[in-house]
Symmetry: C2
Subunit: 597 residues, 2 copies
């Protein structure tokens, strides 16, 4: 059975030594999050993740969710108690407004909690994650009465939330959606239609489920400009605010999926269910987009989370499994064979994973911090830059982290040989669970289009220029530092490739948009490499300083420097290949007639 | 539910137009395999694959195999009848010696049958595939009486075969194996021990199961030089040669796996079971190695097979699924949305798959043909060259085709968005099934070590030099041909990278074997790209000729030329990245202490 240890020390190092957490102490809520407090909070969520959530991961996958004939859905054994503990611990509302029962702590902390929790049990973590997204939409757009009615119960884990977008004939293209909303009594609407792929649509973890539903008000314009957002509870709130009469929404079936078996994925039928408008009429997509950055960051963190737990288990197996001898002579001659970690190719697989995990965690925290700054900073220029970074990096993190998360789960599984293919070791579950993160919350190809088609050109390219300037300045600042040369040289090369690819789009994609589409995915991966490389360079600088200042940390810091060099030597050069693909353009791929595919 | 059409026309084109099948008409057995006969045979297996095997794939996965309390194992509904049809059709013994009930046709044809069958139903195809491997070992090494007793029944599909190598503590490192063989009456042995991961170890498809078992004869030397090979039938042959008394071998449990659910993977317990020696005492590994090339080619074909069927379904979905609009303006303005095949990124995913499938099929057939030549040619020099190619290319095909097979199944699944994650569409099964091919029959890291550590240096590098000369000569021959320039230029570049990587090993891996281990996997992938590129160049040449000679084929041939250019523009340049990784050496990855992982 797999195990998990939350990387608390690594997070503390990243916050304090790499990302300069203390520089943000002036932000509202950050004063309460001193390094000591953070370490205590992380220790608590680590304990919950390791001791409560992780032991339910393999069993939850095997048991899965079951829909009963009455339409109710049973989650795996232990999930309800774990969800209660998660809610009671205040984890759902960690970063939410204290006026509605939240703790008001930085969103950055909530992101870290999300990583730990998803490493321990991704399918479980989706339940509170969806509640958090629904709360964000309600707090941003709903009338005060709705906020007060729903949010405190949701943050306490008594009620949960869902997002209802997809319909059988439309996923990415929401303009096609058909669910109708007909005005009924006292400002309410009757919602009718079918939604599919609704995560946590029905379950037995909470006493009520709060569905946020995209629908078209009678007479609304066709397309994306006629979509509104509604709150549709499973049980209508009664006079005391608690769950009252059953609403006309039900789970028609649950999907049989490749993974995340412990999370119920439902077909939801709305048969004139009562709902209330959230935000403006016909502006439902905008209301949804507000929370999209955080939801996408949450999915990106799932990629990192699986990559981390898969690494931990593969490294442990590689240290213990005896098989064969080192190519350079026996390393454990007293034993029947050497541990397989002596083999370079096993180390290659492990280091490819780890060389992603560490800068990815840094980049996730950096990006989450931008969300905090964008929302909380009193300084407008600082807010604007943070918003630029957040908008630019969110599709990169979603697309790139979930790709690596899956690829790394596959590599970690490979370390186990045949045992990796068998359920009891848990490695194949990581692969199956990680796979969905590349698809939901906008498939990775859509993230790439968002990056290239929307985020790059926005405001005359201001965000991407800021990014280039930041990374370039870091490389420039350290170019004369011999110790930093193994990091800064490759980073500058990668940045150069990214700039060339960006320039190529400017010159070739305006007149021919297919050139943008044809290169978008490779551009996103190229961008990810440069952003990860930037984080590696910053980690390396901090690690060199720390091993001087704290000799007891030398071993840990040296390991980081090795993993960072591995990234720069073997992974960063991929930028050249990605650039070649971007600049090869769309011509060949558009030359094939549709019916010749 | 997924569908499948066997690519008969493509195979015929490859055999006749690209690989010059008629040049081998002088080989024994080839005279019976004229183009007309081949097309008829392929039509028959296509029908069986499409109409019998493919409809059992999704249901077989859902039902899986069940072990009863008495140790018997039930396969999914329909499998027994399909297996009977497969045996009755003569498909198991297609290439086997007619003296024992085979049809004596070229092995190349059997390889093509294997591809079609595995596309339709990989889990099913493993049953006859294992029988074929066991038959090959028996025919090569067993005494005449055993051949006559077992082989005809196995080829008819009445009895089946298995390979018993792995034990709980040893997979790759067979020198550690503990199963004992104690001489008993009349030249027989009593076999005692436990084997794991035994595919088709127990099932209800045949009236007897013939286990080939590696074990250590009492008093044999330790390590790999004390291992012998035994035939151990489930039922001891009775006086009439039919299945008689039950032998002391039984299935202790079956594994719960990520995929290939319809194939039973068993823990087999040998409790003094009666077995007979096959081949020489203590030379069991050598006896196994004889059939390893064919077994590994069979697994390589599984990679191609899944990639092909996944492509077919993804392309069909992309042509039908309406979602969003083309970046360059609506393509189907009368419909609610355009089919997603208008999007360059969808085409990218499809073309990345297809640009592998076509040259991979050519390379598989080329390599299988080398096996035929090596075994059947009267000319010693021709046999030697064919053996060189076969030995060199087998690990490349096994490692590279199964990697692409899995990666391509993932890409095809991505085309389906959320629907790809749901079982009923069948795409996620392709991913789960394809995954095992990277692991069994020697994990892909082991293939890379076989390539770099054994196949490259063998006979002073004769095989790899022959490969370089062949590819280089083709590039040289066509360098002045403007139409071939898009193919030959990139091929020459890729070959240059491969030669540099090979040279780097010669200069850096003799003294430091870890440098070979550290670069072996990337070298294997680099080798695969060049071999696939070589096939693309040959396909392109043949396609250009054919579109001139047969105008009705212009559309099909033009599609090949587009897919080939796509490969050269976007996939071949990966050789530079692989070379960079190879030449980065082992130093960084070996610098991390074991306990720092």
């Amino acid at each position: 059975m797999p195990t998990y240890r939350a990387p608390v020390a690594d997070v503390v190092f990243l916050l304090n030594d790499v990302l300069g957490w203390e520089r943000h102490a002036n932000l509202p809520g950050f004063a309460d999050a001193s390094p000591d407090v953070i370490e205590a909070i992380l220790g608590e969520i680590a304990k919950l993740a390791e001791e409560v959530l992780q032991p339910l991961n393999l069993t939850g996958d095997a048991e899965g969710c079951t829909r009963r004939p009455d339409g109710s859905v049973t989650t795996p054994k232990g999930f309800r108690a774990a969800h209660d503990a998660f809610g009671r611990g205040g984890w759902i509302g960690l970063a939410a407004d204290p006026a509605y029962g939240g703790q008001g702590l930085p969103y950055t902390l909530a992101a870290i909690v999300n990583e730990f929790s998803a490493s321990a049990n991704m399918a479980f973590t989706m339940y509170p994650g969806l509640t958090q997204s629904a709360v964000a939409a309600i707090l941003e757009h709903a009338p005060e009465a709705i906020k007060q009615l729903y949010v405190p119960r949701m943050l306490a884990g008594e009620w949960s939330g869902t997002m209802n977008l997809t319909e059988p004939h439309c996923g990415t293209d929401l303009g096609l959606l058909k669910t109708r909303a007909t005005p009924s009594r006292e400002g309410a609407y009757a919602i009718t239609g079918q939604k599919i792929f609704i995560s946590a649509g029905e379950h037995d973890l909470t006493s009520n489920i709060v569905h946020l539903v995209l629908a078209r008000i009678d007479g609304a314009p066709a397309g994306t400009r006629g979509i509104s957002l509604f709150v549709v509870p499973k049980f209508l709130p009664g006079p005391d605010g608690g769950a009252g009469a059953r609403n006309a929404v039900s789970c028609g079936s649950i999907e049989h999926k490749m993974g995340i078996h412990a999370n119920s994925t439902c077909v939801m039928n709305y048969d004139g269910a009562t709902g209330w408008l959230i935000g403006e009429e016909n502006r439902g997509l905008n209301a949804m987009f507000v929370m999209m950055n955080e939801a996408r960051l949450g999915v990106a963190l799932q990629g990192l989370a699986i990559s981390e737990v898969a690494y931990q288990n593969a490294a442990a197996y590689a240290r213990e499994r005896l098989q064969g001898r080192s190519l350079s002579g026996a390393k454990a001659p007293a034993k029947a064979a050497d541990p397989i970690i002596v083999h370079p190719d096993v180390r290659r697989m492990l280091l490819e994973i780890r060389a992603f995990n560490e800068p990815a965690r840094a980049l996730a925290i950096f990006t989450a911090l931008q969300a905090d700054i964008a929302r909380r900073s009193p300084d407008e220029a600082q807010r604007r830059t943070a918003e630029d970074f957040l908008g630019l990096l969110t599709p990169v993190l979603k697309g790139v982290f979930t790709d690596y998360g899956f690829e790394n789960a596959v590599k970690a599984q490979q370390v186990f040989g045949g045992h990796g293919y068998v359920r009891e070791w848990g490695m194949e579950q990581f692969v199956r669970d990680a796979r969905i993160a590349m698809i939901y919350e906008g498939a990775n190809g859509i993230q790439a289009l968002d990056l290239v088609g929307r985020k790059l050109p926005r405001d005359g390219g201001r965000a991407v220029m800021t990014f280039f300037n930041e990374v370039g300045a870091f490389a420039k600042e350290h170019e004369a530092d011999a110790a930093m040369a193994p990091f800064v040289g490759p980073l500058a090369n990668g940045l150069g490739d990214l700039q060339k690819a960006t320039m190529w789009f400017m010159q070739n994609a305006m007149a021919k948009p297919d050139n943008a589409g044809a290169g978008s995915y490779d551009y996103m991966r190229l961008f990810g490499l440069v952003a990860l490389g930037w984080m590696w360079a910053r980690i390396a600088k901090a690690a060199m300083a720390k091993r001087q200042a704290e000799p007891s940390q030398a071993g840990v810091m040296d390991a980081k420097l090795v993993a960072g060099r591995f990234f720069m030597e073997r992974m960063m050069p991929e930028t050249a290949l990605r650039l070649t693909r971007v600049t090869s353009g769309a011509e060949t791929m558009m030359a094939l007639p549709e019916d010749a595919f």
